[in-house]
Symmetry: C5
Subunit: 253 residues, 5 copies
């Protein structure tokens, strides 16, 4: 894992001072959404002309949004039975997340593509990297996809016992976790925070070009002490970076 993104745990007592609501003196944080779609097979039974029109409209919405915000498309058809593709978005304004959803909903394809899963989160500084190291322009507060071939995404919830541990114990366990991660330099990690916003505590997103490296990393992490404090880490999604137009062709849209 790259060093930049290894650190996922936050001790809130250390943070409360600088995270409270005076945004003027702080670098803004981004909202992030991972939205998983399934095409209604009824769409495939419509006339070719309407389907071409619908696909062009959807691609135009996607492209327009992509020019101003972080937006990536991934194919999951052939890998996971409950969804066909995923859109990964990041923006500073919740209106942007709602806006793209509204545009898709109101388009010709809108009534035929279902959101079957979605994870909402925000960027946040981790307590495990010192403030001095990053200053006011911490890259962890901005989503910057590395555009590798695969993205692995899952929601994450720790046991309440974890949060009752001392900061020292948690730091020790996170350091072991980090050491294992560093043995897989091909894998980089984006962790965002969902406390109170959605059903999970974190959304964990790993980028890599080598599927087996990610599998081996996750298996090794099972033996770390921190792993015992995992309450939930499913569903797990294997996502392949693909242009949206290729995905739509592939699923027969």
């Amino acid at each position: 894992m790259t060093e930049q993104t290894l650190l996922t745990t936050q001790t809130s007592q250390e943070q409360s001072e600088k995270q409270t609501s005076n945004p003027g003196t702080k670098q803004p944080r981004q909202l992030v959404r991972f939205t998983f779609y399934k095409l209604d097979p009824q769409w495939q039974l419509l006339h070719e002309e309407k389907r071409q029109q619908g696909k062009q409209e959807l691609l135009a919405i996607f492209d327009a949004y992509s020019q101003e915000h972080v937006m990536r498309s991934f194919g999951l058809y052939g890998l996971r039975s409950d969804c066909d593709f995923m859109l990964w978005q990041a923006s500073y304004a919740i209106e942007d997340l709602q806006g793209i959803s509204s545009k898709i909903r109101c388009s010709v394809m809108g009534p035929y593509i279902r959101e079957v899963h979605a994870f909402l989160s925000m960027t946040k500084r981790s307590v495990y990297v010192g403030k001095n190291a990053r200053g006011a322009h911490d890259p962890r507060l901005v989503i910057t996809p590395e555009d590798k071939k695969y993205l692995f995404v899952y929601p994450f919830v720790k046991t309440r016992t974890w949060y009752a541990l001392s900061l020292e114990d948690r730091k020790r366990m996170m350091n072991e976790h980090i050491r294992v991660g560093l043995t897989f330099p091909s894998v980089s990690l984006n962790t965002t925070y969902s406390f109170g916003l959605d059903d999970q505590e974190f959304v964990v997103a790993f980028e890599t070009d080598i599927v087996s490296d990610f599998l081996d990393l996750v298996q090794q992490l099972r033996e770390t002490e921190a792993s015992r404090y995992t309450l939930r880490d499913t569903p797990m999604f294997t996502c392949v970076a693909q242009p949206l137009h290729e995905i739509l062709e592939a699923i027969g849209a």
Copy 2:
């Protein structure tokens, strides 16, 4: 969190005397409902004229109810995959909750908007604020939305172990919980009670204008001792205050 609404736990032994069924001497309590709707995509395929008629009818029902009762609308499209909008209602009579539901069901849009989640609850005094402080006109018994930009809602169930603790222990833990809450003055809390009425024990609703403050508060609360007695606090809903007509346009209704 504002001081008024911080207190969520109730020791029933202290309450049984004054909460029993002699309503003449007590301030009445309100019934509260949070109803989450999803639009059936078939609605979008109907003729424009019928859809305009349906939307106008739904807005008129909403407006008429709002003039006599607490009623607010929130958008969830683009944030949560399983619902599009939420209506927050409060009233002294269960007939009012049933009445608005009936009017919506019997309207043109009725067969096309599904209730996918709903939480039923009542207002109730907390044991942690003394009777003298509020007297017979306790504002906690009346829902008064502050009309901030965001509402965060989730159902809440404590472990049975919590209820076996002494009152003293629970008060101590609630005081710590309160102290953490007070460090986020932008967040205010409405807690209502669902024991026996619905699948949860409490419905917790936080209002704020700053999403990140709420996220940081919830993360900090994980480290409180009271947090270990949480059995369930999902699903969690991020709701954006929006006029109903804007929501209906946005979801292509």
Copy 3:
């Protein structure tokens, strides 16, 4: 709670002798069913004439059954998202439960009203009230609704640890449970038994005219020792006693 119905636990060792299969010397026990229905919105799109015919037929079926058996209707629209109304039936013969279901299924509305939940149970004597007190005509073996305004229903499963306790311990806990219940005289309880017949062990049904009394009672019961042995007590249903014709009008049938 009324004294008659407070007692819900049964020690089978004391009962095996008198509950075995010689029905000639015993008062018969009733079968009870709580059936929760949801109207298919497609029904609302049918012609008015067919819908009037369907409603009249359903009401006639209901009325005919009511004349010979215990049968009550309750509205849940506007209170719970997954069902519209509930029918509470009791009869000595399983054929009666199947008969009413068959008549509804074969009626015009049959294909459009879905059973979304149902709880099957039987009446049974509790071990906590002595045999002498009731004799051969124990009212607990006959369902006699008090026809109050509200009925609260939920399925109930105790932990296996409960059943491993001594009879003495369980009696002590049930006595505490009873004492709490007696402080809410407006609430009366019907407990029926589902062991082996359905997914729960008991179906608990409380009648009251005062919603807040029931809520406060359930919250107080959380602090009893017996409460720690609850494995499952959801879903919980708030039901409003209403004539079936009013319900059908209200849900746009």
Copy 4:
């Protein structure tokens, strides 16, 4: 319970020698399936003529199969909300289970009757009855319905802790279990085995003519020591023996 069928636990260490794959010297074991069906309400909207044709075809398939294999029909309408009827089959060849399913699927009613639950299992000798007592023609290896009025069915999974107990401890607990069962002579038990074949370990099927006897037996068994090692015993199905043609009429097919 009848003595023949009381015994449900198997200690595999004692069995491995005689259960391995030399079928020539052993009495063959049967495959058993409990299939629960729900009628699609769309069927009820088809023309009477097609429906009569469909029902006759289904009855002919059922009768033909019944002449060569164990096959029984049970009604669940009016008792359980998620299914209408159940077919209980037993055969020596998996092709027979697939064959009847195929015939039903390909019939006129096929697209309109859904399998909503199914439990697949096999007959097997229990370790608690000695080999000598039964010899090579053990009746437990052949399903022979007693054709009583009621059949109660549920899937059953024990905790892994059970399997870590000594054989002696398990035998002692099973003996207590058996003693309780013997006090209800009206109830007989068919236990079949699903390890590795389906989601449960056992399928338990009780036949009786007296519903309350079965309820009372299951409640008493809660107090046995073996009961503490139950991990899952739901869903539970109350099934009424009925000719298939009566069932089809009753559900409006």
Copy 5:
């Protein structure tokens, strides 16, 4: 179980050196997918001609893929209620898994066959067989079906406690597991790895010609010490090797 495939556990600390991302010096690993399909009954209502065309197209897709990759078909109709057939695929490229899915989706039958379950995994060496024994051409890295009559498949998750055990303890338990397996020589095992790729840790697939042998093996394995560390091993699928054209005929496609 055959010796080749008995070993399922991997100690990652021993593996990290040789499993990292330098594929040039390593035998490549395969991606594996088990996809379970259910036919939409609407397909059966289409004209015979279109259905024949659809079936021929699906068979041609299947045959073309089978000539270049591992691909097998299995029937589950009549055995499991939630699916009709399963396709077992293996390939070195994720594009192959996506490609076959795309071809099926875009075919005439595409809108009518639903993926109701799917398990994604990879081959991987087990730590329990030494490197020297196999060298660079380890057969465990290549899926080679033995084409027996039955395939039993389930997803598998171990408890986190397992991963906290010493390697020595885990090896001891796996050796006991292996010894039990060896008493059933008719059963062979394919274990593949899903860490991070899908909701399970392993996908376990057993081939045999004798159903009862597999049942007896799974029951015996319950008594091993390793069995206590199983967190989840359901759903379990009994799959019958059948040509796809026979399956399609049997389910009325």
